[in-house]
Each structure stands twice: as C-alpha cells, then as structure tokens.
C-alpha cells in the first residue's frame, strides 16, 4: 500500500493518493503547487521520467483537468499528478524548465484545448493544425460533425427507395 511521502504531505495540500493499479496512482493537487510538487517528485522521490501531459475537458464543472504522468523506473510506478484549471481563459504555469520535452505537450494543449502556458517556448506556433480559425477542436463545445459539414463539401450519397412505397406510387398514385 503506497502512501503520500511525509515531506509532500506537509508542504502541499494534496488530495488522497488514488491507486488505479498496482503500478499506477493519481494525486490531486492545487494548480499553483504543481511546479514545486513535480520538481520535488523528480529530484527526491525518483519520478524522473515524464510520460505525458494531457487534459480532460470537464465541461459540466467548468474546468480542465490537467494530468502530468510521471514514472519512477526504480520501483516501476507511475504517478499522475492532477490539477484543475478553469475553462474560461485557461492559463497554467509552464513547467518546461523541469523537463525539456514539456513544451511540446504544452504547445499541443494550447492548440487543441486553448490552455495557455505563458513563457513556454513556441507555445503560440501552430502544432498539428495549420491556419486553424475556429475554437480549439478538443474542447467539448466544439461540434466536429457540424464543422465538417460546414467546411468540407461531400459527395451526395446514394438514394434508396422503399419498395412498398415506390410500387404504390407507380401503380396506385391515387391511393397516396
């Protein structure tokens, strides 16, 4: 049974350590504490590997949940550090000084969710979308089907006829 290390529990206001699997746990933390907590986990607790950073859009609660997934190679354990950022004008502190590859994830989050990371390198450049002019497409209020129908012309599909109605129209038009 894993527990939160004492030095983290006394420095940060962290939620309970939720164990998802034997090798995977998550930890809720306040957004302003994330850079210090990540640095401490990396330097003192062996979570030296950044697996990924991702966001989930909790539109009902009006927040994005950011997950920083760290990995400890020494005891084969992954720890997801989760924090909540408001959806309106979402801004999060950049952590690219801890792991250099972090700025790529942050650039992706800026483009696909609209979460800004001030100071992160090249965060305002386009990542996978070029010349995107709508709201960020991974936000849940973005209707991808409506956007596709509005933007990309499609070919007309085949038309089919119900045999019963078709024959009735042909043979007994007065009955309809």
């Amino acid at each position: 049974m894993r527990t939160i290390p004492a030095d983290i529990a006394e420095r940060f206001e962290v939620g309970p350590l939720v164990s998802k699997r034997a090798d995977l746990s998550t930890l809720d933390v306040d957004a302003k504490d994330v850079p210090e907590l990540l640095a401490r986990l990396r330097d003192r607790h062996g979570y030296r590997h950044l697996s990924f950073v991702t966001a989930t859009d909790q539109i009902e609660e009006g927040v994005f949940v950011l997950t920083y997934m760290l990995h400890n190679h020494a005891d084969n354990h992954s720890l997801g550090v989760k924090c909540r950022v408001g959806r309106e004008n979402a801004v999060m502190e950049s952590c690219h000084l801890l792991w250099e590859q972090m700025w790529t994830y942050q650039r992706e989050l800026k483009e696909l969710f609209g979460i800004d990371f001030p100071g992160s390198p090249r965060v305002d450049e386009s990542f996978v979308l070029e010349g995107w002019i709508d709201i960020p497409p991974m936000r849940r209020e973005f209707d991808t089907r409506e956007y596709s129908e509005r933007t990309f012309p499609t070919r007309p599909g085949r038309s089919t006829k119900d045999p019963a109605t078709h024959m009735k129209e042909k043979l007994y038009p007065e009955a309809l």
Binding site: E130, G131, D134, T144, F152, P153
Partner: protein
C-alpha cells in the same frame, strides 16, 4: 493564355481570386495575385495561370497515350495510411514494375500521384503543391474510402471529405484499405483510360482553375505559397 475557358461556376465567390487575376482586356496577360506571399517574395514565383494544353486527338496521340500507359511513374509521397499498400506492390509477389510502374522521388519526374487515403488539411496543402509541380500529362489515383467520401473520417474536423473538389481524379480505388490486388486493378484501369485518351486531368485543372483554387483556399486558411506552384 487567352484561350483559357472558365467553364464552371465558382463554389464560393467570397474565396475567389482577386479581380486582378481575372482576364483583362485583349492582349493583356493574366496575372495571379499571389496574395499569400510576402511582398519581397512575389518576384520569386510564377504569377501566370496554368494553360490548358490539349486534349489532342489522332494517331500520334494514340501512340503517345500507349507509351504513357506503359510508363507510369508514381510520385513517392505517401499522403495517408494507404501508402502502406504501395510497398507490397514493389515486392516480387505483386511486382508493379512489370506494368512499367515505379516510384520517383520528385514531382517533376513523376506522372501519377497516388492519394493514399485520408488527406488532412495540412497534407492537402502539400498535395496541391506537389500536384501543381508535376508536369502534364499527369494522372491521379485516389485510393481508399477516405478520398471518396471521407470514409471513417467523414465527420473529422481536420480531414477533407472528397478529394475531387481540390484536384482532378482519374481513378478511384474503393476499400479500407484496398489490397495490393485492388491497386493493381486500379492501375490497369488507369492504363486503359489513358489509352482511350480520357485522362485529361491537367486540362480539366487548368480550365477550372478558379473553381479548384476557390475550394482549396476555402479550407487552407494559411495560404503562404504561390497561387499556382509550377
């Protein structure tokens, strides 16, 4: 240049080329606006409209079409997941070289453009650029459901639904994915069409240039290349 005919209506007049690009008085050459380029780069690129060359008829053209059908050089540009089906074609089991089909590294050297499945908007920009750089007569084979009606990406925010709105297509190969056998059948059909003199995609592109260009500019918002990339 004065023999260009604009036969089809513009899909969306708002995205049409600037009036400066329309035919002027007699004797005045047509000039593309090249609005996407910075001012200092405009002199580097061509600003002429494509000219329609052909379609030609006659015995000599029949012979040339036969020769073209026996020497299909594919542009080595895998534009989607379908490009993976081109690799087995090169191997001894399917052996596309027996039909005179072989990949070439640059658009200038190739005559067949294989659209390998879905095309995102980002890829479409490169497709347009490569297609325009190819020398005529040029042929387009679109493989996979995605090029026909969007396929499994029919409601994607970033994937176009019908490739024929952006470049002319000669042969479609349905399937997701089409097997190498289906690709060979498609190439054989392309050869038959070429021999019949029906593959005039480059002429169609030049004649309906404004329609294609308007469609392209409607989805490619950061147009930072010449209007015609020859």
């Amino acid at each position: 240049m004065s023999d260009i005919k604009f036969t089809r209506a513009l899909a969306d007049p708002d995205h049409a080329l600037k009036p400066a690009g329309r035919p002027g008085p007699l004797g005045k050459p047509l000039v593309l606006a090249n609005d996407g380029l910075p001012e200092e780069e405009k002199a580097w690129f061509c600003d002429a409209y494509p000219t329609a060359s052909g379609p030609y008829k006659g015995i000599l053209e029949n012979f040339l079409n036969w020769a073209r059908s026996k020497s299909l050089w594919i542009l080595g540009f895998g534009t989607g997941c379908g490009a993976i089906e081109l690799r087995p074609l090169m191997t001894s089991r399917f052996d596309m070289y027996r039909f005179g089909i072989q990949p070439r590294p640059t658009p200038r050297q190739s005559s067949v453009f294989v659209i390998g499945g879905y095309a995102s908007v980002k890829t479409l920009k490169r497709i347009v650029r490569s297609y325009e750089q190819m020398m005529g007569p040029k042929f387009v084979v679109a493989l996979g459901s995605c090029t026909i009606n969007g396929g499994m990406y029919w409601d994607s925010y970033n994937t176009i639904n019908a490739i024929e709105h952006y470049i002319p297509v000669d042969v479609y190969i349905a399937g997701c994915m089409p097997r190498p056998e289906a690709l060979l059948a498609g190439f054989k059909e392309l050869q038959r069409k070429i021999r019949r003199g029906e593959c005039e995609g480059a002429v169609k592109y030049a004649e309906n240039f404004e329609w294609y260009k308007a469609n392209q500019k409607k989805v490619i918002h950061d147009w930072n290349m010449p209007d015609y990339n020859y």
